[in-house]
Symmetry: D2
Subunit: 484 residues, 4 copies
């Protein structure tokens, strides 16, 4: 029923997580934190809290945080000073409709008490673990890879929940930033490579864990530090205890968090995401200059790079394309005749501005190339003299298996075409992507990418997967090495 | 129940209108046009169509066009190739809750057949007309000033609906851009001063009327011309007939349409709204320069002027404040504790970018000054060294009575303070508004404002009302002359 | 979308009305009264109240009273100690979908203040009145005949609302029991023939008007008297004033109120409706005895007559057919395969009881005969030896135009067949209707029907319409005289 | 929020189950069957089906079957020719709000494929089983006792689902009538005592399992036989295989199914439930005669016994109390003032009938006695000369632990008072319950109750629990032996 008349042609982060302890009416803070992380998942959300007198409380809902988790009734049904929450992205039709049972956080009652868990990332050997657990008599309620973790914990022989969690996570491969809770403890953990982000904050006497710093800002919490790759923190009234459950590995933070996933006002490694994006534009202007009259972003995600491009090139920055802010992400289409109007429902070209001009359009990425083509048509129809695309990421040629919704490799434009072929396919005067080295430089690696031991996970560009995607290989995915 | 934790502190256009004729399944086009005009009214919308076999059809709904008027069932319930529509702004609690009966277009069955009407503007002598009509036995269904027009038409002795409409409008004072329809005709009319906009477009064999050109763009219609102040067009299968029901007057288009109301990708008088706004920034930079490190817009409406200010001053443009795009306009507040967080629900300062910098913040207007103060606090808390406000409109010192939702004069900051007092009140290092002349220059009047006969309606700035607001005077409003 | 898989094959009362004055939080009482009158209309309902400080308040909703008018929020939005309400029957698809604007009470703002009105009955010359009013410039909002009254009142030259109401009603022909209100007065009026019921009750210091006595019982009000045919009562804090706006006529109360429309626990003319129905069963047993093993009612409306038949005949009474109480009136059908099961969704035969028995089935009426046939099939399939139908009303051969939803005459079984033909058509061993005289005797007229001047309106049986149905004749209906 | 202004003061069956195999579009049949069983549970319902191409499908909803499971969209989302379903009663506030996860059927994915299960009854050692399973690492999703069965099945070492089910059920104590399904088999099983009913039917080439015969009738299925106590049937395309997983025991069918739970048109042991109820009235008239003018049932459940009482005593039967059929089971109360009206919202006394008469009121049971008192007040207020209560079951003195919602023993009137004390407490002229022997005679046991080995489970009357309620004893319940 629902469809996307203007397919964004973006990769989509699948989740955001948030937790807090030591804050009265924790659900309020969790709701606000999830609201700030809404860009990481708009399909559904859930909150679990614990109150010493009434036990665990939970609410899981489809839709936006602002529509579900701000009503007095819902918040009052979630008492307690400890709580965690999760927002989840709609993973389209291909994987089947999400059921409310798939919405996290997940909860399990163990012999020593209950625990809840919210997961950002993807367990790449979940299929195998799930098969084994079913064989041994576990009943799965969801289709989520994350549910494995709760079952592994339930079957652990350890005496405490943090110990059981270590047990479970040592079985898991892949990417995970997890926020969990018991009746008295808030737990945060990142996988050994630290693929997905997780930050620690402080508010009054309480502590906060969140996917991004923007979720600390909204509640007025102070940023303390990032959880380190491979680190587990166990937070109780006694304070923050840090443990290292895994063998040490070199960090491989997801570089796409800088390119697109994270909010521009968040920062990682001391670096403003906005500033990194602006700097990508600067790199692009150096790597792929072009003579033109105007630099226009594809709204909204291309804006920082477009500003950087304009500043480096001296070509004026202008809002040549306007986004309809009442669009929402979905639109139920009225009829076939209208459906063909597609992109116009969301974007409009400022004709009076564009006419007769040579335009540089800056976008953050090209995935299938479907919308690039449509935007090009709109802008030519509005009378632009020339159209040059500049893309603030390298060609996306490989799917992500670490918690991002990517089309199959066959559907990725860059998996099938060279840069020049893409230019001709889209039909623009020029098309250039920032280089992988340029991207690394913009992200603060002055020397570019260390090819022998890359500083980031960039599998979607390079095909070099830092953790083998075993489930997907079993389902038929052919990794790079075998393909070449 | 609903409240605005982050009060935008903006004037609000109260309506957008759209109509078309000669286009199969007209309701589809009306829905799209209203979607493009959604910024002119988000509370409710309505569509009326006519089909030769089944007569008039109507649907009126609270909420956004995308949520109501794109479902197949609704569109199919609105058959026909002629239709009009209306979007309406929520006029806050002070005037009482809107009922569905207040949602336009209004419909009336006359002896010679039905007619429907959608109105943008405000009839300034509606109270008097209404009293007289009730005295004579008319039954009003809504609290809307626009319903008067239908009743005046019903009581006219003229034989055709266009003639009855002329009769009715000659009794009306104030501002009105109206789109109306009979079974076979689409009618558009603007008041003699042309305060509110109305444009004519062409699509295939059909014709379109809309408040702004962006609503032509969304359906791919070609812009033909603006309806002239005081002009009525009667469009049938025979074509467009233009008549002049009123005595000629000099045009007084609302200058605030350029400043804030209209979408930046619309154009009036051949001038891009975006370009006018950018030019206001240029004027501001000339009139009120300041030494600083960064020019940041208050998102989203301050952006074009901030770009202009940056370009004229050479001070770099940056997105120092991020807007949460999942905010919506309303937010049901979770608790008193949270309510105090207010502005953080919607805006966040990019701390890593702002810290230690001297910041110029560019906003489009200051009405009550409530949010200016909150934004100043956020930006200082994030570590800005200096904060300078530059406002892309003159001080708003008078309420609008021509179809815009304005606070009472007592609540307007500029009605009570000088520019310097406002600066101290808001607590910033400097605060400057563009001058009225600067605004006129940016809007294309090279010589500035013609004070003897102003080119625009600027009553909200100057207190010079081109049409006396009789109803409001009767209700106690004191116009400028009497006040000084 | 909605359909009736088990078409009840009943005539349907179209409305119930209720009003009260002098009772704090009147809306509570109106809601309860309408709940008690829900059998008179299930499609929609409305309540209007008046509070001296806040004026008139209204709520109109589709659906049952218990689902709409018992929520705290709705009741609190209807303050005041005076109020009226209306429930309305769904008049099927033939007349077009009801819109919320058709839901009563109707409200009108007159020069001397507002008034609201709720109407049970039908104005038989409404088409003509409406045409004239439109000609003179009135704007109609609904498709209801009752709206004419508000417009006639608006155009009256009288100085008070009761006087304007008299003016209006003297123009109206047909059947009407009306409850109306001004800011300070509750008004009740019945047409000169008193076709529809209206009773007066007293509770504490307040007064109540209602269609039936069961609505007095639910709020604990004491029955005072029936409003007389042709009487208007104007109730204020000074008490009940009775006036006679119309020329005196002999009463013609609707006899079908006794047969089916009214609730069995109501009473009219001092006579319990239940007792009259039981007595019809007694008359039937005398007029049309039959040798059998068991008397079973068609639930639920045939029960009192079946009890009477059993008591008079000595044949045991038994519940041979069970009604599914979770059926509701509508059922959205799952598929064509299921649709054919029709009657089984609502009724089930008690097989163990029925098998091998000679069964007398007692129903209150046969309209189109559609369900009689289906019930016969079910009961034979369950193994009954013989099936005898006894109907507690005479053959329904004419449509009602006084506020009852009747099929067109062509669809009435009794308009097309004799009693014997009907028996063969339905396929039962015997079929007998009570005679018109028997019905009158059961209703307390010991001498039967006075054919020269009938004591009741029985047009649906006799074709003798006490008020000529002018609108319907104009639309093509042929009355009896012309037909024979 | 929801409350019961007229508390029915009834025991409530907690569930109804239905399943079918070999019927195209099975979901249609399951929906109809559940609709017929709606009296066994109105709070929520669920359906699971299996289609060979698309696997298992499920839908669980709060509310009535007719509102949820008849919409085309829902039914189409449940393809396949095999399916099971469940309706569930609201177990009031005391046990906490039901969550959608508590709604059956439950589904589990096992190593050899999925299975679903719907349970009517109660596992009396579920607490102990649950504790053990959690200890061993099972994760429970619901608070339902029935979920234990799925987990026990998941952990069984048997190779087929029917074998695993036997394994699981041999661990379970208590009452259970279960309908289960695999991809290709429909399974039915009753506990060794056969406390809850389960019947087998045949329709075309398919088979049907249902709690009562009325659910066979609605789909036109032929009754084949009851599933025997302790029998398991495994139905596949090869036919019905019967197995005996348990040691043989003498049957103890719940006698309250005859008194109140089942629908009157169902039959058990060849006996019509209606006829048994009527016969209880006959026994009552013999055991406890009284001189009076009228026998009136408390609607609707007291009706058959009232008919029997009237027939045996010769005192006329009459509907002296009318039930408002639009009441529903719940009513959101408008205000404190109204709440006190309680019983009037649902029942009304037929004043014209009752006044001055000596009335025998027949009800099916008295649990807490709360409504008996209110009805007595209403009927005296209406002017009855005498009021005599006759109850068609023995005093309810013990809670049921086999799948019925009963108040705690302290709240049962008969646990605290003798028959005479109850008469005085309720305040009626006489109050008599049928004896346990009289009840057994009415149920077909001519010799009355065999006290050494009772033919039925009558624990709610006798305190003799055929299966020890271990969980409840552990929670503090004191069985009869210890109490006396």
């Amino acid at each position: 029923m629902l469809s996307h008349p203007f397919d964004d042609d973006k990769l989509r982060e699948e989740c955001g997580v948030f937790g807090c302890i030591g804050l009265e009416d924790a659900a309020n803070f969790v709701a606000l934190g999830l609201h700030a992380l809404q860009h990481r998942g708009q399909e559904a959300g859930g909150i679990i809290t614990h109150h010493p007198e009434t036990g665990f409380h939970s609410a899981h809902r489809f839709g936006l945080v602002r529509d579900n988790f701000t009503k007095t009734g819902v918040i009052e049904s979630l008492p307690g000073s400890i709580g965690i929450g999760h927002v989840r992205y709609s993973t389209a039709g291909s994987k089947g409709a999400t059921q409310i049972r798939d919405v996290q956080p997940f909860f399990g009652e163990f012999a020593m008490g209950g625990a809840a868990l919210a997961h950002n990332g993807n367990i790449t050997n979940a299929d195998a673990i799930r098969r084994e657990l079913i064989e041994r008599g576990s009943i799965f309620q969801s289709s989520s890879d994350s549910e494995c973790l709760i079952h592994l914990m339930a079957r652990s022989f350890q005496k405490t929940i943090p110990e059981r969690m270590k047990d479970a996570l040592r079985r898991a491969e892949g990417a995970f930033s997890i926020v969990a809770m018991t009746r008295t403890k808030l737990i945060g953990v990142r996988d050994p490579l630290g693929v997905r982000p997780l930050v620690l904050g402080r508010l009054h006497q309480g502590w906060v864990l969140a996917s991004e710093t923007c979720a600390l800002d909204i509640i007025g919490a102070e940023f303390v530090r990032e959880i380190a790759p491979g680190e587990m923190v166990v937070i109780s009234e006694k304070g923050v205890e840090s443990v290292q459950p895994f063998a040490a590995q070199k960090s491989r933070f997801c570089i796409f968090e800088h390119v697109y996933f994270s909010r521009p006002d968040s920062f990682f490694g001391g670096r403003s995401v906005y500033e990194t994006r602006r700097q990508i534009g600067v790199e692009l202007a150096r790597e792929a200059p072009v003579d033109a009259d105007m630099v226009c972003p594809i709204p909204d995600s291309g804006t920082p790079a477009a500003i950087g491009f304009s500043q480096e090139s001296g070509i004026p920055f202008a809002l040549g394309i306007t986004r309809n802010q009442y669009m929402g992400r979905t639109f139920i289409e009225p009829s076939q005749a209208i459906r063909s109007m597609g992109v116009r429902l969301k974007l409009n070209v400022n004709r009076a501005l564009i006419r007769g001009k040579r335009i540089i359009l800056v976008d953050d990425s090209v995935v299938r190339g479907t919308t690039s083509q449509k935007i090009k048509e709109m802008i030519l129809e509005a009378g632009a003299a020339e159209v040059h695309f500049r893309i603030a990421s390298p060609p996306t040629a490989w799917p992500c298996f670490y918690g991002v919704d990517t089309p199959e490799r066959e559907k990725l434009l860059a998996a099938n075409m060279t840069e020049d072929e893409m230019r001709d396919h889209i039909g623009v005067d020029s098309l250039r992507f920032v280089t992988l080295d340029g991207l690394y430089r913009a992200a603060g690696e002055a020397g570019g990418r260390d090819n022998s031991c890359p500083q980031y996970c960039d599998a979607c560009f390079s095909g070099e997967y830092p953790v083998a995607p075993h489930d997907m290989i079993e389902r038929g995915f052919t990794p790079k090495q075998a393909a070449e």
